[in-house]
Every structure is written in structure tokens, then in C-alpha cells.
């Protein structure tokens, strides 16, 4: 009786183990898909977080991951529980697989004694390892890859100070330079600086907006214009003084009058211009009487001219005017730029470009890639036209020969003969159409070749 009771317990224990195995298999089956999806989503999120967050910490992601894993496990258990087997079902599974003729069911009913435990137990199932291990392995690989793959943190472009437009720097350099040299009246420089500060004071994201660049460009052009104007007027005044000084005795009245007018006009424009020379220089020039230059000490006059020259040079050297205007130093770079832009034009005139002459925010010509992605330049390097000397290797379309000659027409006399003499001379292919075509066809051909 004890033996039978022992068998009963053992069978029930085995049934519990089998049912646990079956239920675990169901749980793992239902777990695989959500686990894979979660691993895929998690790895993507980890990669994004590692890229986007500079101070990425593993603490919170680990906790969230554990919670999600727990939730997925519970969800899978909830989905799998409908398929769970009780130990009684496991008994049936065992007796069916071991071909026990339902002895366990009968014993459970109390009809027959519990059979002895066989040496070899078989519940009729075995693990399908590839199916079982693939999802967790894939999940591990995905998560491992997202953790271990080297990902550089996105540079915090927003936090770094944005580089301001070069034109502002150039203008500030001009202001600094002109202030140091005391070339220009301070009011103009202060106003210019105030305008730059106004541009700089707007939101950084607006620095390179179209309106900002337009304003910058206008400011620069205005500054450039003023520089050019002051430089030109200073030079004109200085050159007028030089002429008056050196040629006062030999000069006719008319020439003298013209030079004096030029000096007066230059002085007037210097006074009226927005950018004025520094007050000291301007006062000196104004105090000068060109008609009585002889009263001045030559050294004083020479010093004044030198000051004017230096001021004009300072104006020409300003960065805001670099590459602009007919200044001495900037002229070379302007020429170089012109050459570059006019490259390929036959007459030296700027070539008319398709797509416009450029603007404040782009260069001349069509914008690249308007009609699609630009193909990689696989034929990089210089392209050189090759002339084939070996005519046997010429390509279709190559010009082989130019010859000025007549067609080789066979002029052997053909046609009706009388007594062995040929009467008419051949006219080449004309015989074909003249003698073989219909009248209507001949008319059509004649009309065509008219």
C-alpha cells in the first residue's frame, strides 16, 4: 500500500514537473516576439540617447529596461496562461507518449493501482533549442550592439558660440584700424559700430538670415563707398596741392584755376561726406590757402600732404574695402577675382551666366544640384583633348581630313553610238534620276534641289 502511495506521489510530482515544463515553454513561446520587438526598440533608443545626450547615464535606462522586461514577462505570462496545462493534463501527456494504455488516468480514478515508475520517462516533448534560443540571443545581440558600438556624441552646436558673419569682423577691423590711425572722424565710426551692434544684437539664428545678410551687405557697401570717396577726395586734394606746389611758376592761369577748383571740390566733398577725415587734418586742410602756398613752410606743406597720403592709404587698406574699388592694394585681388569670374570669356567681358550674377548669399550661376543629386566626379583631373595621329585608331566623329577637291566623276562616254563613236558624255549619277524616274518624281527632285 505504501509502495502504491509512493508511486502516486511520484507520478504526481513528475506530472507537476512536466506541466511546469510545458507552461514554461508556452511562456517562452509567447515571450519571444515581444522580447525581440522591445530589444529592437530599446537598442534604437539607446543608440539615440548615446548620440544625443552628452551626460548619458546607464542608471535610469537600466531601471526602465528592467521594468519593461518585467512588464513583457507578465504580458507574455498573461497571454500564455490560456494554454497552460495542469498536472492532470501532464499525466495524460505522459501516459500517451509512454503508451501506457491510460493506466495513469485509470489509477487517478482509483480503478487500478498506480503503475511503477519506469526507468525511462518520456513526456513526448523535447526542447526545440534553435527556436528557444534565437529570440533571446537576437535580443542580447541587439542590445549588446547598441551598448558596445562606438557612437560619438553629437557635437553641441547649439551651445557653442556661433561664428558671426565675416563682413562684421571686417568692418570691426576697419573701425579698429581707423580708430588707431585716427584717420576718420569718430562720429562715423561710432555710428558704424552701433549698426554692427544692432545686427549682432539680434537672435543668433537670424545672423545668417536673408534680411540680416542684406543689411550687412548694405552696411558694408555704404562703408566701402565712404572709404572710396574719402580716399579719392584725399588723393585728389593731395595731388592738387602737389601740382600747385611744384608747378606754381610754370602753370598757366587756366590750369591753376582748374587745379584750384579740383582742390576746392575735393575739400567740399570731404566736408560733406558722411565719413570725414579726423578733425585735426580737416581743419588743417580747410585752413590752407591754395593760392598762397608759398607763404607756407615747405616742410609744413610736405607734412600735410604726407598726412593726407597716409589717410588715403589707411582708407585703402581697410578690410571692408578689400577686393573692392580701385584701391592700390585691393586692386590686385579684385583683378584676380575678375579673372576668376570671367574665366573662359573670349573678349574679356564678364560672361553672361545662366542663373544670375549672384547675390548676397550665393555666387553667380545656377545653384548646383537643382535638378537632382550631383553625380560624383569620377573623371577628376584635367581633361585634355587628344588628337589622334594614328588614323586607324580614330573614333567615330573624329575629323580625319579636310580636302578641297572635286568629285571623281567617271567621264567615259557612254550612250548611243554610231559607227563606234560615243556621242554623249556621262554625267555621273544624273542619268539615274533623269532617265529612270517618273516625271512627277523628277519634278519633286528638281523642286527640292532648287
Amino acid at each position: 500500500m505504501n509502495g502504491e502511495h509512493s508511486n502516486d506521489n511520484q507520478w504526481r510530482k513528475l506530472a507537476s514537473q512536466v506541466s511546469s515544463k510545458i507552461n514554461l515553454a508556452w511562456w517562452l513561446d509567447k515571450l519571444s516576439t515581444p522580447l525581440l520587438i522591445a530589444a529592437l526598440a530599446g537598442s534604437c533608443l539607446i543608440l539615440i540617447a548615446r548620440r544625443e545626450l552628452t551626460d548619458f547615464s546607464w542608471f535610469y535606462p537600466s531601471i526602465i529596461g528592467a521594468i519593461i522586461l518585467l512588464a513583457i514577462g507578465l504580458l507574455s505570462w498573461w497571454r500564455a496562461r490560456g494554454n497552460f496545462e495542469s498536472p492532470d493534463h501532464a499525466l495524460v501527456r505522459m501516459e500517451a507518449s509512454m503508451k501506457m494504455c491510460n493506466k495513469l488516468s485509470a489509477a487517478k480514478q482509483g480503478l487500478t493501482p498506480w503503475p511503477a515508475i519506469p526507468k525511462v520517462l518520456n513526456d513526448g516533448t523535447r526542447w526545440r533549442w534553435p527556436r528557444l534560443l534565437s529570440p533571446p540571443l537576437a535580443a542580447l545581440i541587439l542590445l549588446g550592439a547598441s551598448i558596445l558600438l562606438p557612437v560619438s556624441t553629437r557635437s553641441n552646436a547649439g551651445d557653442l558660440p556661433m561664428d558671426e558673419p565675416q563682413a562684421w569682423k571686417d568692418l570691426e577691423a576697419d573701425i579698429e584700424s581707423l580708430t588707431q590711425e585716427e584717420t576718420v572722424e569718430k562720429d562715423y565710426l561710432e555710428e558704424l559700430e552701433e549698426r554692427i551692434e544692432q545686427l549682432r544684437g539680434q537672435n543668433q539664428e537670424e545672423w545668417y538670415s536673408h534680411s540680416s545678410i542684406e543689411a550687412t551687405d548694405a552696411l558694408r557697401e555704404m562703408h566701402q563707398g565712404e572709404l572710396d570717396k574719402m580716399e579719392r577726395n584725399l588723393r585728389r586734394a593731395e595731388q592738387a596741392l602737389e601740382s600747385l606746389q611744384e608747378n606754381s611758376g610754370e602753370m598757366s592761369d587756366q590750369s591753376r584755376e582748374r587745379i584750384l577748383d579740383a582742390f576746392s571740390e575735393a575739400l567740399e566733398q570731404l566736408e560733406q561726406g558722411k565719413m570725414k577725415p579726423n578733425s585735426e587734418l580737416l581743419e588743417k586742410i580747410k585752413a590752407l590757402d591754395p593760392e598762397n602756398l608759398a607763404q607756407l613752410e615747405p616742410q609744413q606743406l610736405e607734412q600735410l600732404r604726407e598726412s593726407m597720403k597716409q589717410s588715403a592709404k589707411n582708407c585703402a587698406q581697410c578690410q571692408g574695402g578689400a577686393g573692392k574699388g580701385p584701391s592700390q592694394d585691393g586692386g590686385a585681388s579684385q583683378d584676380w577675382l575678375d579673372d576668376l569670374l570671367n574665366e573662359g570669356s573670349d573678349n574679356g567681358q564678364p560672361q553672361e551666366r545662366e542663373g544670375g550674377k549672384g547675390g548676397v548669399n550665393r555666387g553667380p550661376g545656377s545653384a548646383p544640384g537643382v535638378l537632382g543629386q550631383i553625380s560624383p566626379d569620377v573623371n577628376s583631373g584635367d581633361l585634355e583633348g587628344l588628337q589622334s595621329e594614328d588614323l586607324s585608331k580614330s573614333l567615330p566623329g573624329d575629323l580625319l581630313e579636310l580636302r578641297d577637291s572635286k568629285h571623281d566623276v567617271d567621264k567615259t562616254k557612254v550612250g548611243l553610238r554610231a559607227g563606234g563613236n560615243v556621242d554623249n558624255e556621262s554625267e555621273g549619277g544624273s542619268r539615274v534620276w533623269k532617265e529612270s524616274l517618273l516625271p512627277s518624281e523628277k519634278r519633286a527632285l528638281k523642286n527640292f534641289f532648287k
Partner: protein, 338 residues
């Protein structure tokens, strides 16, 4: 109802085994057929035997009747056989000075009816068997007459020479517990038949079991325990014979009836008793399923064109439907049974 005890089953099993041994002396080399015939008889079922002439169908039935000491009658079915010829007819008789109809029982009023070449009788005559087979009674002129107990119909039919035959209607086929196909004998069996038998002589068979004992055994079969899981397997198996209920039933036009499920259960119990078990099992169901189902499923046109037989479809069904109701998860695979 009290389930059969092991002692009862063991005793009954011994009797049945002696029956089987005796029948094997009548019909050589057909052990499985004998087992199935006995199973069908113990399950109180009617059996349709199909086979070529001369394979011993009639000898088997006659031997069975002698062994069991049961009354047996043989009816040779012919196209001109009338229902009254087998059920019995009212005869006008003078009784106590009055003339009245007195029912004259036909050959159905016996324990075992050997309906030889049943498919040669007209449908009208065949249908006369329906009530007798199902309700074990005969109604003539509005008066029902109970047939003796036990009552079995063991019918034979010839699978060839189908001209002038009337195929059994489905309703009648469904009333047969088993349809057994008798196969030809092998050389050794034929040699034994030639050695031990003479042409025209009947084998000597001694009675093995009294009719009352046999009735007790029949009653015991009903007390065999049918586990719930086996009943569930039977239900799932019968359900799977219907189109759309299983992959194997794709070429079945009509599936088996609930009577098939009852037949499976009864036959499984009978086989359990023959194996001296107090309970039926999956293996019992699987063993008797082809005999129970093969005449109850009707294949569709495609299956017939492809040459598929009911036996092949049933084999597929038995492979497809697992013993236990639960499915296996995809993380587990079926291992070989021990």
C-alpha cells in the same frame, strides 16, 4: 454505474480469449479479423464483412454461432427478396373458432442473422433491416415484435460483380458498427487450409461459452471505464472527420455521425475487455477507428479521382489528431514515443 473490477475483467478476458482461440481454428490466418469480429460482437454491434467469395466469411459466422451456442439463421439476399420474407408475415389462421391474422416470425427472429450478399436485395428489403438493427424490434401491420437478445446482424457483401446490386444506403451503413475487409490468405495459411480441411466438410467446433455467460460478458463491457480524456479523443477524432475541422478532412465530403462516436466508445470498451483492462485507452480507439469510420465518411470527387481511399484518409486523421487535447508550444517539438 459501477465500473468493472479487475477480477471480473480478468475472468471475462479469459473467456474471450478462449473464443478467439476457437475461432482461429475455424478461420486460419485471420487473427486480426477475428479480434475485430469479437470486438464488434462484444460491443453489441452489427458487422459488415466485405471480401471476395470463398474467404471464409460464412464459415466465420457459423463458427461463431456454434461457439457461443446462439441461434443463427442465414438469409441469402436476392433481388426478389421481400421485406416480409425476413421480418415475418401475418398469416390468417383460425383460432378458437375465429379467423385472425397471426404473426409468423421471419428469419430475423434469432440471435445472429447472417445476411449473405446483402447488397443484392432491393432497397425496400434492405430498409426492412433498419429498425431491426437499431431498435432490435420489428413492426408488422402496426404491431411491434421484440427481437431476441442478443441480436446481431453479420452481413457480407462482395466488392466485385456489382451488376444487379443495390449499394447500401448511408443510413444502413451507419448502423453497422464495423465494416471489415477480409483480405486474401498468404501461402502458409493456404497450405494449412489445404492440409486440415476437406472440400464440403465443416470444421469441428465445440461450444465454448454458454449464451448466459456471453450475455454477462456483454453487460460487463458496458461497465468498462471510459476515461474522460479518451472520450475527448473520440469526440475530437469524429469532429475532425468533417470538412474544415482538420487538415486531413479536406477531401471528405461528409464526416462521421455521433453514432460513430458512440460506436468508437463501445468498441474501445470491448477491446479493453479483450485485453483484460478495466478501462479503455487511446490505443483501443486508434486500433478500432479504421473499422468504425471507413464506411461512415464519404470522400469528395477529387479524392476519388486521385484514388484516395477512406483507409488512407483515416490514417492521416489518426496521425493528425493527438491523444491529448492541448497543443504543443513552438518551443517544444514532439519526441518519439517510447
Amino acid at each position: 454505474m459501477e465500473h468493472a473490477s479487475e477480477t471480473e475483467v480478468t475472468d471475462a478476458g479469459k473467456h474471450v480469449r478462449s473464443l478467439s482461440n476457437a475461432l482461429q481454428q475455424v478461420l486460419f490466418g485471420q487473427e486480426e479479423l477475428i479480434q475485430l469480429v469479437l470486438t464488434g460482437i462484444l460491443a453489441r454491434g452489427h458487422i459488415l464483412l466485405e471480401g471476395l467469395p470463398g474467404l471464409g466469411k460464412t464459415e466465420l459466422v457459423k463458427g461463431l454461432s456454434r461457439i457461443l451456442q446462439l441461434e443463427t439463421r442465414r438469409v441469402q439476399f436476392t433481388p426478389d427478396l421481400l421485406p416480409g420474407d425476413i421480418t415475418g408475415n401475418p398469416v390468417l389462421q383460425e383460432k378458437e373458432g375465429k379467423r385472425q391474422f397471426v404473426f409468423q416470425p421471419g428469419p430475423l427472429f434469432t440471435n445472429i442473422v447472417l445476411a449473405d450478399e446483402i447488397n443484392r436485395a432491393s432497397p425496400k428489403t434492405q430498409s426492412a433491416l433498419l429498425e431491426a438493427m437499431q431498435e432490435r424490434r420489428v413492426t408488422v401491420l402496426g404491431e411491434s415484435h421484440q427481437l431476441p437478445s442478443p441480436f446481431f446482424v453479420l452481413a457480407t457483401q462482395n466488392p466485385i460483380e456489382l451488376e444487379g446490386t443495390y449499394p447500401l444506403p448511408e443510413a444502413q451503413l451507419d448502423r453497422f458498427l464495423f465494416k471489415l475487409e477480409i483480405t486474401r490468405n498468404d501461402v502458409d495459411t493456404l497450405e494449412r487450409i489445404v492440409t486440415d480441411r476437406d472440400l464440403g466438410s465443416e470444421p469441428d467446433v465445440n461450444p465454448i461459452m454458454e449464451a448466459s455467460t456471453f450475455i454477462d460478458v456483454l453487460a460487463l463491457v458496458r461497465r468498462i471505464y471510459l476515461p474522460d480524456v479518451v472520450a475527448n479523443y473520440i469526440a475530437r477524432l469524429v469532429d475532425a472527420t468533417h470538412p474544415g475541422q482538420s487538415e486531413s478532412a479536406g477531401k471528405i465530403k461528409f464526416g462521421a455521425s455521433p453514432r460513430a462516436a458512440l460506436s468508437l466508445a463501445a468498441a474501445a470498451k470491448a477491446r479493453a475487455l479483450m485485453n483484460e483492462r478495466t478501462h479503455a485507452s487511446f490505443e483501443d480507439v486508434k486500433f478500432i477507428a479504421p473499422s468504425v469510420l471507413r464506411h461512415r465518411i464519404i470522400l469528395d470527387y477529387n479524392a476519388r479521382v486521385e484514388g484516395l481511399t477512406s483507409n488512407e484518409i483515416i490514417s492521416l486523421l489518426l496521425e493528425e489528431i493527438p491523444f491529448q487535447a492541448g497543443k504543443n508550444p513552438r518551443t517544444l517539438q514532439q519526441s518519439a514515443s517510447s
